[in-house]
């Protein structure tokens, strides 16, 4: 009833995964592969090295209709940044070559959600179709056995092995591959699918180019796997022509040559009932030759992801972005393919076909030499070691060590509700259990007083007006803050009322601050962790008092942040600074405003953002660690900007499009390393003098004292600057 694929191993450098694409192969396949590997694996970004262009003589471009890459379980994530967890919409990605009247030939990238494949597959077997826009129709039934198939004939097998997802199939590609089950009857398959208890069903889609026997030397596994496919009675498999006719009903497949917005094709009736994320996760098909850029972002967090995992970010000439997530690896292979393609594209460009297609590879990584020397020496604060931080009466004896550990390793979410009140200054570190009970009690009473006073303000016309205004803004914001988080989900969720109440009371407690947009975003995670209104309120007060993220009414604080950031940038990342400096308004650093105002909450998934919050709250060596994180993001993800010479608008787009797709752990590591380097500087400019006031000297007797030089330019500045006269 079922049989297993043999484990597939292709190029030695390519990780084993369920990717089963084969490039067009020749007798020189191995040479080219070697060359591609050289090309792809070390250099970043990858251009078109002249040494390889000679290879072109031995290699034909892919033929019309040839699929040069395919892989299943490529995810699209709905755009909402509200999610503290990620919604995965897996789908099937393929890239095929297509004749293009303008450019000769081009690549069409298509992503089809698995849900569509699944729904439709039952009715779609054995169809052979003509795709009016692209390749000539290939009748799969008529395909001769693979050993004698010309290389442009495609035999595609969509193998719907429905697996029960045990935990997260997305992360177990190898297993999936090994278990790939081929069923002989589609009815079986369908029934099985219905029986499947798990709501996420994965279809492992395999596709192969057929190959002549002389072209598969060195890859016996592939060969066997392939023969294996063909020993089956094809009529019982889903053998589907590449043009995938079953998609036609939902998406105008014909549009494959242009920018194809996933939503634009949904007909009016459907649109009404589709949610935004459904629209977002529809079939996506673009002509890569017409894109402005392709970027491949590696997330090399080896502990959690398969190697070669990351994102493919496609930007159209209109600066629209699409992000496809490779959770199971596959980027290495894609780079190989694109590199080969780049060679051909390069040839075409030389022959006078201008085209905006370019791609590059971003591997956010840090050399071990670049890491903070104490990186990796600390472990997450868990329940056990948290208890050990306290003496028998509950005092935390070495808060420096604790803060340092939090700075490097963070806090286990299960005890965040216990630790945060210390970081947010509700409890002093040296308080005892009894003292904390007392503090908590007193604070509770105080909170009730604040509430009562606010409620009494209704009698004073002036105050009443103030609260009406504040209430109007808060009400608007509370209903749109983190609504997809389970804690705030659903209509009439009582926690929304609690959030509003706390914000109102905060405005009463600190009327000069009142309510600033963004506060609800900062409060929401605290509320979800602490879950008690009085404690949450006081933690929030602590956050507002000691942290620097939020603007005062005059925006002075924001200006100050940006000034610091510019100076740090100049010190730590001069190339990026120079790039911004030469753009009109580039040094406004617009893209970083939200980073600072919300402390990266909308840039990284929930848990990663909170890790950053904790690192900032630990006030380890600096009060402005968030600025180091800003610089770190630019360092890790900003090379592109400098290389492509992106303007102000495009910088904003670049970083906005990366929001929620960046690797928080790499950014944090880099930020720690930047702080370390900053601390090693012998001399710093006068405006950065205050960067570690609150953090104090730690457990050292004296502050960090670099030499300070004055960079003030105007007389007024010089007059105020305590370091004026100290020149560079």
């Amino acid at each position: 009833m079922s049989s297993l694929y043999k484990k597939i191993s292709s190029a030695p450098t390519t990780p084993i995964n369920n990717q089963r694409s084969s490039p067009p192969k020749h007798s020189v396949t191995s040479i080219i592969r070697l060359a591609s590997n050289l090309l792809t694996h070390r250099a970043s970004p990858i251009g078109v090295p002249s040494t390889t262009s000679s290879l072109l003589k031995n290699k034909c471009p892919p033929l019309d209709g040839e699929i040069i890459f395919s892989k299943n379980n490529i995810c699209v994530h709905p755009p909402s940044r509200l999610h503290s967890y990620t919604l995965h919409h897996p789908g099937y990605l393929c890239i095929k070559c297509q004749h293009d009247p303008q450019f000769g030939s081009t690549l069409i990238l298509t992503w089809i959600p698995n849900s569509t494949l699944k729904n439709r597959s039952n009715t779609s077997q054995q169809s052979s179709i003509s795709d009016e826009a692209s390749s000539p129709s290939i009748d799969t039934n008529a395909d001769p056995p693979p050993t004698s198939t010309p290389r442009h004939s495609l035999s595609r097998t969509i193998d719907s092995g429905y697996h029960t997802t045990n935990s997260n199939l997305l992360l177990s590609p190898i297993e999936q591959d090994n278990q790939s089950v081929r069923r002989h009857s589609s009815d079986d398959k369908y029934e099985d699918a219905l029986d499947d208890k798990s709501y996420i069903r994965q279809e492992s889609v395999t596709s192969d180019l057929t190959e002549g026997p002389d072209e598969i030397l060195g890859e016996p596994d592939d060969d066997e796997a392939f023969e294996h496919i063909d020993t089956h009675d094809q009529s019982s498999n889903y053998v589907i022509d590449h043009s995938l006719p079953f998609m036609k009903e939902t998406e105008p497949w014909k549009n494959a040559t242009g920018v194809h917005k996933p939503d634009s094709s949904i007909n009016e009736d459907d649109e009404a009932i589709r949610t935004v994320s459904e629209q977002f996760c529809g079939v996506f098909s673009v002509d890569l030759g017409k894109m402005r850029s392709l970027r491949l972002f590696y997330c090399d967090d080896a502990s959690t992801t398969a190697s070669g995992s990351g994102q493919l970010v496609i930007a159209s000439c209109e600066s629209q972005y699409k992000v496809l997530h490779f959770h199971n690896g596959g980027l290495d292979r894609l780079i190989e393919i694109l590199n080969e393609w780049n060679l051909f594209a390069y040839e075409k460009t030389r022959r006078g076909f201008a085209n905006c297609y370019q791609f590059n590879v971003v591997r956010p990584s840090i050399d071990s030499s670049d890491l903070h020397p104490e990186e990796g020496c600390y472990h997450l604060i868990t329940n056990d070691n948290w208890r050990m931080c306290m003496n028998s009466s509950g005092q935390i004896e070495d808060n420096h060590q604790l803060r340092k550990t939090i700075f490097f390793a963070g806090i286990d979410p299960s005890i965040a509700n216990e630790v945060w009140p210390f970081l947010l200054h509700l409890y002093p570190f040296d308080s005892t259990f009894e003292q904390r009970e007392q503090i908590r009690h007193n604070k509770y009473l105080h909170y009730q007083k604040i509430r009562a006073r606010r409620e009494a303000a209704i009698n004073d016309p002036e105050e009443a007006q103030f609260f009406r205004d504040v209430e109007a803004i808060i009400e608007k914001d509370v209903v749109r803050t983190d609504r997809s988080h389970p804690y705030f989900k659903g209509d009439d969720n009582p926690n929304l009322r609690v959030m509003k109440e706390i914000l109102m009371n905060y405005a009463a407690y600190c009327p000069t601050m009142g309510y600033n947009q963004g506060m609800s975003d900062l409060l929401a995670p605290i509320l979800t962790v602490i879950q008690n209104d009085s404690d949450t309120f006081w933690c929030f007060v602590g956050l507002m008092n000691r942290t620097i993220f939020i603007s005062t009414p005059t925006d002075d604080v924001m200006e100050k942040q940006l000034r610091y950031l510019r100076e740090l940038l100049l010190l730590m990342l001069p190339l990026f600074h120079d790039h911004c400096a030469k753009l009109p308004d580039g040094l406004d650093l617009l893209f970083a405003h939200r980073w600072i105002l919300l402390c990266f909450k909308r840039e990284f998934p929930g848990h990663e953002a909170l890790r950053m919050w904790e690192a900032c709250w630990s006030h380890y060596q600096t009060d402005y660690f968030h600025l180091f994180i800003c610089i770190s993001i630019m360092a890790v993800y900003g090379d592109d900007i400098v290389q492509q010479n992106l303007g102000t608008d495009d910088m904003l787009l670049h970083f906005n499009s990366l929001a929620m797709h960046m690797s928080g752990s790499i950014v944090l590591k880099k930020a720690r390393s930047l702080l370390y380097k900053f601390r090693l500087l012998q001399r710093i400019p006068c405006c950065l003098h205050d960067i570690s006031v609150l953090a104090g000297p730690g457990n050292w007797d004296s502050h960090h004292v670099p030499q300070i030089y004055c960079i003030c330019t105007t007389d007024q500045e010089k007059e105020r600057c305590p370091f004026s006269g100290l020149c560079m």
Partner: protein, 208 residues
Amino acid sequence: MSRPGHFKMVLLGESAVGKSSLALRFAKGQYQDHAESTIGAAFLTHTLQIDADTTLKVELWDTAGQERYHSLAPMYYRGAQAALVVYDITNADSLSQAKKWVKELRTANGIDMIIGLAGNKADLATTVNKRKVDAREVAEYADDNQLIFMETSAKRGDNVSEIFMNVARQVAMKQPTNTLNKPQGAFPPTKPKPKGNSSCCSSSDSKS
């Protein structure tokens, strides 16, 4: 492929009047309940076909509405050729805020700036007593201030592309050749000459 002409347009208005929703509806045809508040600036682009041979790429800057961030606003509207000021028809205060924005824009960017005024959430007008702003009064104000005025509904999509299109047309008319690049190198227009409003059509076309 020709690169379309482009212009920068900024969205301004009190918080929660629907600026981001208008932008999302315009650029992507989508609507989302409870869309998160905009913090800092967001940026979207969308290409409009103004007439047979003019396409314009709108570079839309979406901003945070609350007055607190007011001092950041000049960074956002600097260099914009057009603005869409938005108010909420169910909130009279939001109109006065919109008027302040218009004044500020006229002071900062001058009379040349094309400004649209959108009375958003028009879908709520049907609900009894929800409407707090009279459209006729606003229309008069708009006339006095050379604003392109429409009531819109980002939720239903009413008048959204219309108001953006009208603003884009005016931008195209006002700045014919220098900042807006007409498509180049494509096909010569099949029609001899666009009619009427053709200040945007350079005479060079006819030489071909």
